[in-house]
Symmetry: C2
Subunit: 341 residues, 2 copies
């Protein structure tokens, strides 16, 4: 019994599982710069240029609920979560493929809406749809998007190259998408009990939009470029700040010190957290789906970064790989931990 329990997938966690499943795969191709283990894989197209590839599978009932996800929003989101992975490598997304599995309950008009959202994202971010697969499913909607990006080799930023004492920065604010989801879930429960009651989403428009229609931070990539800053490491915040900081630490073999009062939290996020009797820190650390960029820069770039809009410096990389902590406003340091899968 004990063995079985140990072998349960949830105990391994997503990243433990990936490590286990891919451990026997070897990499010998000389043009492959980066395989599994970053936001995107990287392979050379010429001496100076690389293509990148990332893929993301969204599952109905796990990643989205059609009761409150409009199909056009869903199509848009399915694309941008992939683009975010390419921006997180400091690269430019170029092409996508879209695979969908649909159950019989879907009308072609519903699919039209989904593809309107996909098209909107493609147009907004200059990306082209170049292929895909369309099939049926016994139940539920599945969307797998793969994105191909491009970059000069020297511009690409990895997770593994942070240096000790580098400043840790994050764009935008954190925890909003998670709290938006909680509001939507609450209204769904009310709706299920009494379909006559209209959902009350007032005062939470921002965090709901963050959940239903996240925006990848191409603007941040452009602003950093304009400011002459190349991050020393970078990752996008898809699983929550804690999880992403731990990735940077593990892959750069460093620790991290984060200051609680520097973590950017929107007012609506804080208000919603209060409503659900949560510390606002919790959704920011563990909420996920923010699609903000988390990156490090050398201390010497501090003056430059402070002039870039919508960036918060939240801590620094520590030379001791064992030290991964949050410093609260009052009291003792708290150890950073990733949420379970």
């Amino acid at each position: 019994m004990k063995k079985n329990k140990l072998n349960e997938i949830s105990n391994l966690g997503e990243f433990g599982l990936i490590d286990r499943l891919t451990k026997n795969f070897t990499i010998t191709d000389k043009k492959l710069v980066k395989g599994v283990g970053d936001d995107a894989a990287v392979f050379e197209s010429s001496q100076d240029n690389c293509f990148l590839i990332a893929t993301d599978l969204l599952v109905e009932g796990i990643h989205f609920n059609l009761i409150y996800s409009p199909l056009k929003h869903l199509g848009y989101k399915a694309v941008v979560v992939n683009l975010s992975d390419i921006y997180a490598m400091n690269a430019k997304p170029k092409y996508i493929t879209v695979s969908i599995a649909i159950s019989k309950k879907f009308s072609v008009e519903a699919l039209d809406l989904l593809y309107e959202g996909i098209l909107l994202a493609c147009e907004r971010f200059d990306v082209e749809l170049i292929g895909g697969d369309t099939t049926s499913s016994l139940s539920g909607l599945f969307i797998n998007i793969t994105v191909v990006g491009e970059a000069r080799k020297e511009d690409i930023v990895y997770r593994s190259t942070a240096q000790k004492n580098d400043l840790i920065c994050v764009s935008g604010d954190l925890g909003a998408a998670y709290m938006g989801l909680q509001i939507l879930e609450r209204e769904k429960e009310i709706f299920i009990q009494d379909p006559q009651i209209q959902p009350d989403l007032q005062n939470y428009e921002y965090i709901i939009e963050r959940q239903l229609k996240p925006e990848p931070r191409r603007d941040i990539i452009n602003r950093l470029k304009e400011a002459g800053i190349k991050p020393s490491s970078m990752i996008d915040v898809s699983d929550g700040l804690s999880s992403e900081i731990l990735h940077l630490c593990k892959q750069s073999n460093l620790g991290a010190v984060i200051f609680e009062d520097k973590i950017p939290i929107n007012e609506q996020t804080a208000k919603a957290a209060e409503l659900f009797r949560l510390e606002p820190l919790i959704p920011s650390l563990n909420g996920g789906e923010d699609y903000e960029l988390l990156f490090t820069i050398p201390l010497s770039e501090k003056d430059k970064i402070e002039k870039v809009q919508d960036i918060s410096i939240i801590g620094y990389m520590h030379e001791n790989p064992e030290k991964k902590v949050i410093v609260p406003k009052y009291g003792e340091e708290i150890e950073l931990k990733a949420q379970g899968w």
Copy 2:
């Protein structure tokens, strides 16, 4: 009511649906050589070289049944059906990404087996696993594999470049995978009624293997190269010979004449068809999952192709795009039609 019926997805068919969903997407990128509409999309990596990308989504209960698909075979098959798309462009597969959604019933040991099959295919065909996504599903197993291939631009073969009077050739034999599936389905029904009865698969080993563990025809690509033959058009047989011929015709704006007695059918396929009271021609035309290569060559290459092992000349491209027929052994020409989705 009539409108709704017209709008049902099954009435559009897979390719009609794809046309409808992608009609508003425009292609402006200059490096994109081919988008939606061939076995793989093609984009330039340098002046002389291209990368290719293809993707395929396999759904439990639709594309495979875990009652008779061993997980290792399934992992292998999920890879090779993608590789087949790259070979069908006369290119070399290089990298894959693997996205899976799994229900709670899966143990990590089951996933280990699936990945053993994926690894086996990677090793056999010199392909590297470079990324993916792993998530949960509410029910069933979903596997989406995306493959990146590479080729010299001048070597790539499309569906749209067949010429009138070109010979139509196909590798291996057709209909075996479909008849293998029928045998497996029959034994499944017997097993469900009485789990004590062992499945009787004797004398059908070949066609069952064709269903459970298809092999992509890299060998044919290599043999054609050695023989100095570059096909004028090519496609892999995934949906059945009829459907693939119609693709070549539509995209090359030509017709086709196929001779029934030239269609290669294995003895086990014919025997199984007889058992199920089917004309052996039916699974060959409409069965699908053969993963053979269907291609055209100029008439002037006839002597050369006859020396290449495991190739059948089954007909020729006709200058009239309206003429798409099979010439039976006896009787009148039959119009080629694709099976419904």
